[in-house]
Each structure stands twice: as C-alpha cells, then as structure tokens.
C-alpha cells in the first residue's frame, strides 16, 4: 500500500469522524426535543416530584447550564466514551451498549458475509445464464425476497423451522438454563444464529444478487471484454478474470451503503428472535421511553456504519488501482 492510498484512507477516516461529530450534535438536540423535562423523567423514576429534588437533579446533570455549554459537555463526554446514564436502569449507557454490541456484531457480520457471498454467486449465475430459466428463477426469487417484510419473514421462519419442524432454536442466543463451554457453546450459539442471520441476510442477498447481475451484464458489454474474447479465452475465463472483478466494484460501493440498512434491520430481527443485541436494546429503550439510551444506541449504530464504510473504502482501494488518481 503506497503513501497516496494511506492518505486517501486517512482522508476518509477524518471525514467519518466529522460525520460522527455532526450526528452527535444532532443527537444532543434530539434529546432536548424529547417530550418532558429530563429531570422530571428521572425524578419520576425515583418516585419523588418535589421541586428541590428536581433542582438537585438539574444541577447534577448540568441541565441548568446554558445550552452551548451543555452541548460542549455532551460532546467532550462523548469523546471519553461517556454517554450519560440510562434514565431507567441507572447504568451508564455506554456500558449497556458495550454489553450488547458483540451479539449484534456477530449477527450483522454473519448476515453481511452470507448475503454478499450468496448474492454475488446468485448474480453471477443469473448473468451467465442471461435470459434463460435459471436467470428468471433467480430474478423472481430476489424480487420476492426484496418485497418481503423482514420482520414477517423472521416470524414465519421461526414458526416453521422452530415451532413446526423443531429443527432450530428460534429464541435467544444461547440455550437457557444449561451451562455450556468450549466448542459446545460455540455450536449452541451457531445454531441459535442460523435463523436470525438467514432472515436478516435474505433481503440483502436479494439486493446484492440484483446488483451483481446488472453490473455483470453491463460490464460484459464493455470493450475490454471484446479484447479478452479476441485473445482466444474461454468464456469462463473471460467471466472470472475480466468481467467479475470489474463488475464487483459497484457491488462493493453498494455493500458499504447497505451496511446502514443492515444495522437498522437488526432491530427487527433481534426483536423477533429475542437476540440480545443493541437492536433489542433499542426496542427496550423505546418501550421504556428511555431516550438517553435510545439515542446512545442510535449513535453507536451510526458509528458502526461509518466503520463499515471505512472498511469498504479500504477494500475498494485495494481492488481498484485507479483510486489514487481521484481525490
């Protein structure tokens, strides 16, 4: 990796941090826009409503300070990984989220890899068999999965595979009440992962399959493919060495953009399967009107998207030699 590439990635990193800061500011104002006085909400939890106690709370949380000062405190706290307390659980928001984050990373990561692998494969197969029945089948299937609500698919899958057939666990991340360790635990988690990851991944599989198919067909009409054919290559070599690599570039870009959708989708999947990740945490926060926690989860999931985008940028850099020329 040369200097220009590193500078490029550095630039993207700085951009990501700036975006996160802006989201943080946005978050701060959203908390202020939430209904009710935060002090009253907190006091309500504690069961007391007298004015002296409210004043104490305001001082304790700096709510009596001017807005710009509060914003400054909020941002600087954020830089120290301090996102305030959960109103309801009285535990630091950051700790709550970090406790749940690995489960979400496992779920979304698996679903992401699965959907990319399956989607690209399906797209390539469809494009190679352009306008034959395999192509039609893949196109129809991806249209159907593209149209099916994620949460409904999750419910139906758990009903069928877990309740009706009894093949796979449809609830939680580990079997309750049994202490497992080592490989047994890994296998147990893996089994629990199958349904949530598949249902979350299927929608994105459809997205990637359609994108790959279109991109493959467009790329195969480009001039350098003609050159490759004129060299006397077999069609499969032309596809592998020349069409596929070029066709994957827009898919990589899309993968980065879709990362955000994937994390949003996790809220639904985790809710249906009771998967103990930040998506479910968000759902819980929603129900308990725990706005500080809600916005904390929102911020962390944005940070995850920035991270995913950065990873796709790096991959793009490695795959496309032309990137160093553009800014």
């Amino acid at each position: 990796m040369n200097l220009q590439t590193l500078l490029y990635i550095g630039g993207r990193l700085i951009k990501g941090v700036i975006i996160l800061l802006i989201i943080a500011v946005f978050n701060f104002f959203l908390i202020r826009a939430a209904p009710g006085d935060p002090a009253k909400v907190m006091a309500g939890e504690a069961g007391a409503t007298d004015e002296v106690f409210l004043q104490q709370l305001r001082e304790q949380f700096g709510l009596d300070q001017p807005l710009y000062y509060q914003l400054w405190v909020y941002i600087s706290n954020l830089l120290h990984f301090d996102m305030g307390m959960s109103y309801r659980q009285n535990i630091p928001v950051f700790d709550l989220i970090m406790d749940r984050l690995p489960a979400t990373l496992l779920l979304t990561g698996t679903a992401f890899l699965l959907s990319i692998a399956l989607g690209v494969l399906a797209g390539v197969i469809a494009s190679v068999n352009y306008k034959k029945w395999v192509d039609s089948l893949i196109t129809i299937l991806s249209l159907i999965f593209y149209a099916t609500p994620l949460f409904w698919l999750a419910i139906m899958a758990s009903l069928f595979f877990s309740v009706y057939l009894g093949w796979l666990p449809g609830f939680g991340m580990e079997t309750v009440g049994v202490e497992l360790s080592g490989w047994d635990r890994v296998i147990d988690i893996a089994l629990h992962l199958v349904l949530p990851a598949t249902t979350l991944g299927l929608f994105f599989t459809a997205v990637y399959a359609r994108m790959t198919r279109t991109s493959m067909i467009e790329t195969s009409r480009l001039d350098f493919v003609k050159t490759a054919i004129a060299k006397g290559m077999t069609p499969s070599r032309v596809t592998r060495k020349h069409v596929l690599r070029n066709a994957l570039l827009p898919v990589i870009t899309l993968a980065g953009i879709q990362a955000g959708q994937l994390i949003g989708g996790a809220v639904l999947t985790e809710t249906v399967f009771a998967w103990p990740g930040i998506g479910r945490l968000m759902f819980e926060a929603l129900f308990q009107r725990d706005y500080n926690l809600l916005l904390g989860v929102f911020f962390i999931s944005s940070a995850m998207v920035v991270l995913f985008n950065l990873i796709t940028d790096v991959i793009y850099c490695v795959v496309d030699p032309r990137i160093e020329l553009s800014k």
């Binding site: 630039g11 480009l222 050159t227 060299k231 006397g232 030699p321």
Partner: protein, 555 residues
Amino acid sequence: MKPLLQVEDLTIRLPKGGDREFAIQKVNYNLMPGEILCVVGESGSGKSMTANAIMGLLPKTIQVDAGTIIFDGVDLASLEERRARELRGNRISMIFQEPMTALNPLMRVADQIGEVFLIHTNMNAKQRDERALALLVDVGLPDPEKMMKAYPHQLSGGQRQRVMIAMALALEPAILIADEPTTALDVTTQAQILKLIKELQEKHNTAVMFITHDFGVVAEIADRVVVMEKGQMVEIGGSDDVLNNPQHEYTKKLIAAVPPLVAPHREALLEVTPVLTVNNLCKTYSTGGGWFSKARVVKAADDVTFTLHRGETLGLVGESGSGKSTVSRCVVRLLDSDSGEILIGEDAIQDLNTAELAPYRKRIQMVFQDPFASLNPRKTIGQIIADGPIAQGMEPAKALAKAAELLDLVELPRAALDRYPHEFSGGQRQRVGIARALAHDPEILVADEAISALDVSVQAQILDLLDTLKVRLNLAILFVVHDLRVAAQVCDRVIVMQKGKVVEMGVTKTVFEAPSHEYTKSLIDSIPGASWRSDLPDHIPQEGQPEKQPAMSSV
C-alpha cells in the same frame, strides 16, 4: 500466391426491426499474405461485420446467414467454438478503435500481454514476462520495464494502442485485424501508430485487414481496397486504382467529398475593423487537489490574441488538449476567462454579468459538435429554433414564423417545425443547429468541431451550407477544427494552437505551403495520405452540387 483468407458470399442477417434486412450481403474478397487490405465505408456500411464474424465477436442476436470464411482450410463461419478459440489471439488477432476502454482497467500491462501466452502456450511466468517485455520494446514504448507494472489509466491513448498492438502481435499471427485503430487518436499519434503497424507488418510479413472510414488513411497504408455501402461490397481493387480512378458512383462520391490538402487562393478581405478581438486571453484549469494532494494546473489558454472580421472564416486548429475548444468557449462566455480581453465590436464582454451580457448573446452564436446531443430531445424543431428569440423578447408567433424562414435558409422542409429531433438524420440535425444559431441574426458564428461527428459525404454538404451562409449573411466564422484537410479548404486564415499557446497564425495558403513553426510542420506531415489529392484545385467541394436531402428519414 494462395490467399490467406477467403471471404465467399458472406451474408449476415440483422435482427428483425432493424433498418435493413442484412448487415452485409454476398461479400467476396481475399486477403493475401503480407498485404494491407483496407475495408472502407461510412458508418452503418457494415464494414466491421466480416471482421467481427472472423473473431467470433458478433452479438448473439446477429448470425451468419450464408457464405464461408476460409482460413487455413477451415471455415471460420461454421467452425466449432473450441477450435475457433485456438486461432483467436494466436493465428488471427485484432485491435480496436477505443484505446481508452479496450484494456482491462484493473490489470497490469504485463499481465494483460502475458495472458495471451498463458492461453496459447506452455510458457512459465518468467518466460511470459520476458516475452512481454520484448514486445513492449518492439512497439517502441518508453521505459518498458516501468510499463510492465503500469495500469492502463497511467498510459496515454497512443501508448495504450501500442500495448494493444504488442498484445495482438504477441504470437506473430498470420492476420492482424485493425478496426479503426487510429480514429480516436490525434493526428500526430495516428501517424506514429500507422507507421508502427506498417513497420511491424513488413517485419513479420503479417497480413493486415484495416477497417477505416478515412480515405487519407487508405492512401497512407493500403495495398488493396474494399469499399462497402449499406452492406454491399461496391468496389474492390488496388489502392492506386481505387483512389485515383474510382469506378463505382458511390466511391467517386466519397472520394470527391474528401477535402484536398491544398488551400485555394482566396481574395484578401477589404474590411479592416474587426468584429471580434481577443487580447491576451488566459485560462487555467486545476484538477484534483484535495486536503493532501497538490492540484494539477493546466494552461488551456495562454496569452491568446487574435482578431476576426466580417465575411471571414478563421480556423482554430490543434490536437486535443491544445486549448482550441477552451478559447472558443471563453469567446462565447460559456467559460469565464482568467485574464485578457474579449471585444465584440468595441465593447469588452469578458467581465459582463448575465444581464449585461444579454444584448451581446445575439451577436455571437455557436454551432455545436454532436448533432445528437445538441438538440433537446423533448422539444420540437420549431421550439428549439424559436426559443432563443423568445428569450430575447420576441413574440412567440413572430419567432415561429422566423423559425420557418430559417428552415428554408438551411434547406430543410417547413414541415420539420412540429417534429422532434429523433426523426432526423445527423446532417439534418446539424442544419437545425445552424438555424438555431442564426435565429438571433448574429454577426459572429463559432463552429465548434461542427462537422467532425458527421460522415464525410454529409460533412461536405454542411461545409457548403456554412460557406453559402457566410457570403449571404456576411458572417464572421470562428471555425474550431482538428481536421487539417477541412481547415485548408474552408478557412481564410488559420491559428495553430499547441498546449494553450498560439504557435502560428496566418493566411491559410501560406501556413499550409510554408509553415514557419516546427509544430505546424509536424502536424501537416502527419496528415494521412498527404501526397494524395494535394493538387486538385478544380475539385473543391463548394463546386459539387449540394446533395438533395431526403425529404425526411421516416414519417
């Protein structure tokens, strides 16, 4: 001598709903060992079809209907795909028109060349690299070791075409098919590539099938010529015979449309006050430049000074990147210049804002290059022409009446008013573009490569029209053009530009006959077929009858 390749009664059918039934019909010709055969024709003549059939590059919807292509005792038209692949890139290879897109952007040059050896030979990686390097030396690329590791985007168009040639000649094929390989290149690069092809062809005794639309190129390299028209082969013969003594009407017409490379004598102009004056015009572009990288600065116009008079055609010639288009766009204020003066009559317009500029817009108008992109596809021809005067405050009814008159002027039927651009051919659209520019009754017309997207026979008609209009309306024309043959024919004076600078300016005849600057000399020397049609003063295109336009393509 036995022919290397025999094309016999080859007929290729087009899919239903096309503009004709056959792409090519009953085409017959031979390719002899070691000769250069040029296949010439205008766009849509089917000149590339045979080559694509040979290489298995026909689209799936188009198939060989009848006939054979015999090579080495086998019929390529019916040969099974596996065996045909063994020949491709090995015994027969091909280079293409667009060097910018013909190479895989994600693969290093060495790997793209090495691939040919990988497919057709048993060489190991080291041997492949050695041979690739030797080929890069052969095609005359600078710093071949560095080139090996380069990606296509790091190479210029001419360098990429050299890589393509290296790749095509890697296994010393018996036949090289070149499909318009120099059309996308500048004239000096074109001359170098033509020279390279000829040298390598002689060295290896390769037979070359060279597909082109340019009779200059034919004159430069062809041994024999095949002329195609609408899928039919209309003439075949030795290069000298076809070029200097064409038999078929169509060939005669095509050759007559090629402007001879000699500037006719023109009367000196009487008018002395210029209608357009450009003083010390400068314009720089900076590209790239982010937080960490320095911007690259290109001087597109560097201290350009000239004047233009009524009744005069001033040519602005140069290769791509010379800045000729930048100058023309600064003059009409589509681009803002950095410094210098632009005067229309006696008024400086370079710093005027949109409102102040409005009255001058009428006086200077432009005709554009691409007849397909220069007309809004969602407006009728009437709207397109009348829009300008309406924007300048004319009543719509009056503007439309004027549009009808303008159609007469550019020799289009008035019925065109209510039709949309897609119903017209390229030449007809260019006439609409001219009518639109004339709708303002301008004094100055800037023609930005106004004919370079057209077929040669249509070019002649449009040039003819412009010349007639110039005389009739006493226009001053600034003619931006890269084709020096055209410049020689239509311009009273020419300005030669290189890298943003004016290197030579003078009366056309003088510049062409006795160029004073080295660059001008090299430009003129690079014109393909320079010695052919350089002494035919009786044959200038203005004298040929303007082709009657077909009433309309389809109604």
